[in-house]
Amino acid sequence: MKIKMEHGAGGEIMERFIKEIILENIHLRNAGGIGLDELDDGATVPVGEGHLVFTIDGHTVKPLFFPGGDIGKLSVSGTVNDLAVMGAKPLALANALILEAGTDADMVKKIIASMDEVSREVPVPIIAGDTKVVDDKIGVVIATAGIGMAEHPISDAGSKPGDAVIVSGTVGQHGMAIICARESIKFESEIKSDVGPVWNIVKSVADAVGWEHIHAMKDPTRGGISMALNEMARKSGYGVEIKEEDIPVSPEVRAAGEMLGISPFDVACEGRVVMVVDKDFAEDALYAIQKQPNGKDAAIIGKITETYPKKVVLETVIGGKRFLEPPIGDPVPRVC
């Protein structure tokens, strides 16, 4: 078998590939907490009273610079967010840079400056790194690993019936910004990627309602909220019911989506979190998120139910119902 784009697209093909080619050939897959088999955003290692959370993310995006960010901002944010949605305060990052020979040094400097900016914003230090230069046509690839500490690790499987589902801002911004940049599609107001760290949002909710009332979290990257909600439904064994009209979508993303025939629900966010919260604390959680500068468009979009287990049911704008399925293939490849 040869590796095709589909093997990295996040769908069933990728899942089978990870299971058969990777998981089955690694024998030690767990360090006492959440391990490789869970395929969560990160893994945990119990340390004393707390849990060390460990994650890594490889970043490859075309174009390297896009409205709202670049691969540097993406790599630090992506790893910080993988830690954050596990309920972990980011402690430190490590970076591996793989560069194609001939890459402009000033451009690399700009990418590093973006990484630095996000690292100071969180704040999380970048304390280790590695650099390789190759003569293959790969552009710039960045792998970022991160560790964090969680007093109460949160998986993406912990939803309970009745819980509220919150999304921290407008969806589909990153994916749609990338495709518009690639296809040179211009709108009156440019679509900007939402790329950015969400640790502040997670922390604000934990401070407001307590970690124990956040039952599940996920950052809806590849495959957008369609993929994230389906994974959360499948892993918890419960259903998710959401209302289309409550899902925040910016007018320009909506317009681009209609023009391109791509649903904003199916494309990546890079600065959002989908949070499942005990319903009695949902309003407080929402209020806490909305007070954050990157959370003002947050909304409660639905709830966890026992009907339709492992499925996501969407109530459409006109009140009809259908399943929200994970996207077919990859509507926008190489976004993160």
Binding site: E6, G11, E12, I13, F187, E188, E245, P251, E252, R254, A255, E258, G261, K311, V313, L314, E315, T316, V317, I318, G319, G320, K321, R322, F323, L324, E325, I328, G329
Partner: protein
């Protein structure tokens, strides 16, 4: 963004709810369950994406007819096009084949155009025939556009043929598998598919007008409504059909007046019939339908690739065993009634054509997770 403002009324929850109330009232008056058919992939998209079936009373159902030109393109024509490419290659002529992204992946017993590319043939995906024509102007080799589509797509084909004729472009040819929609509806009625009302496709009607559909009502007593593509358009069409049935009215109405005119686009009609003549034609899984195909007129035969290469057409089965695309295209069944649907047959591993095309009912059901 302005388009969104104009269309907001057609997506309004309040307006949709009010029409739904009226639909329920009319449905209560029905003496028997009714079935409405549409013949358009985009209508199916609106119905399934909006979850419209889940909103309708139990005695009102919507079925999809043959509304997907790529799905009904005969296996024989796809295979013949492949044979043409092989013949050309053997005789030392390089052909660039262009077609649409869904056509490219349609399976046949002898493979797909995608398989041809894997074997080293030059097959390219285009978004319109115009893109194909531009390739022929830029590159010297022979460009053949494999051209499926109903009236809506035939109009731009005719537009390009106008340029081919005027500029005397020698290296651009087409393989027409264009089809006409009303004759297919007529054939379904004659073959015994029964439905109580027809929702006419807005795009096709933009070209042929309300006029192009009138004879279906006159000859077969079927009420019709020409409809647009927003959720409210579909609901309004359903309501209008119910009202006509309850009032005993047999007529054709136009809900999509913001686009469709009674006489249609007469300039487009003239262009189409300048280049094409009507012929009997095969539809995949539906058989030969009288007067439903468009072939280039003799005068323009030189633009038809078959005037240069004409290998014999093999006789092949339309569908794989177990695939019910035929019943889906006739409006007899919904994809969820198929044993293969979503299990063996998915957009990644399609068995039948209706799972491949963006306009195919099975693809749409899978993509939007239809809840019946």
């Amino acid at each position: 963004m302005r388009t969104n403002d104009i269309l907001s009324a057609y997506r309004s929850r309040d307006i949709a709810r009010r029409i739904l109330q009226s639909i329920k009232k009319e449905a209560e008056k029905l003496s028997r369950p009714v079935k409405f058919m549409h013949v358009c992939g985009t209508h199916e998209d609106t119905v399934t994406r909006g979850g419209i079936r889940s909103l309708l009373p139990n005695n009102v159902s919507i079925v999809a007819g043959p509304g997907c030109p790529v799905c009904i393109t005969p296996v024989e024509d796809i295979v013949k096009m492949m044979e043409i490419m092989r013949l050309a290659k053997e005789s030392g002529e390089k052909i660039t084949l262009t077609t649409f992204g869904d056509m490219y992946r349609i399976p046949t017993p002898r493979g797909s155009f995608a398989d041809m590319r894997a074997q080293g043939h030059d097959v390219r995906i285009v978004y319109s025939i115009f893109d194909a024509y531009k390739i022929s102007l830029k590159e010297k080799n022979l460009v053949v556009h494999f051209s499926p589509g109903f009236e809506t797509t035939t109009a731009p084909t005719a537009g390009i043929l106008e340029s081919v004729e005027n500029d005397g472009v020698e290296n651009f040819k087409i393989y027409s598998v264009h089809r006409l929609t009303p004759p297919a509806v007529e054939a379904l009625i004659k073959a015994g598919t029964s439905f109580d009302g027809l929702i006419d496709p807005g795009h096709v009607s933009t070209i042929i007008g309300v006029r192009g559909w009138e004879y279906i009502t006159r000859k077969y007593g079927v009420p019709q409504v020409v409809a647009g593509f927003e959720p409210v358009d579909m609901l309004a069409a359903i309501y209008t059909l119910l009202k006509m049935i309850n009032d005993g009215e047999v007529d054709i109405k136009n809900e999509y007046t913001r686009v469709v005119k009674y006489q249609g686009n007469t300039a487009a009609q003239e262009a189409i019939y300048k280049f094409f003549r009507v012929s009997d034609a095969k539809w995949r899984a539906l058989g030969i339908i009288p007067n439903s195909g468009l072939e280039l007129r003799e005068k323009y035969n030189w633009i038809d690739i078959r005037s240069r290469y004409n290998p014999p057409t093999p006789s092949l089965p339309d569908l794989e065993k177990g695939c019910i695309c035929g019943a889906v295209l006739r409006g007899y069944a919904l994809p969820t009634e198929c044993k293969l649907f979503g299990k063996v047959c998915t957009p990644e591993t399609p068995v039948g054509p209706c799972m491949v095309s963006y306009e195919g009912t099975c693809h749409i059901f899978y993509k939007y997770g239809a809840l019946i």
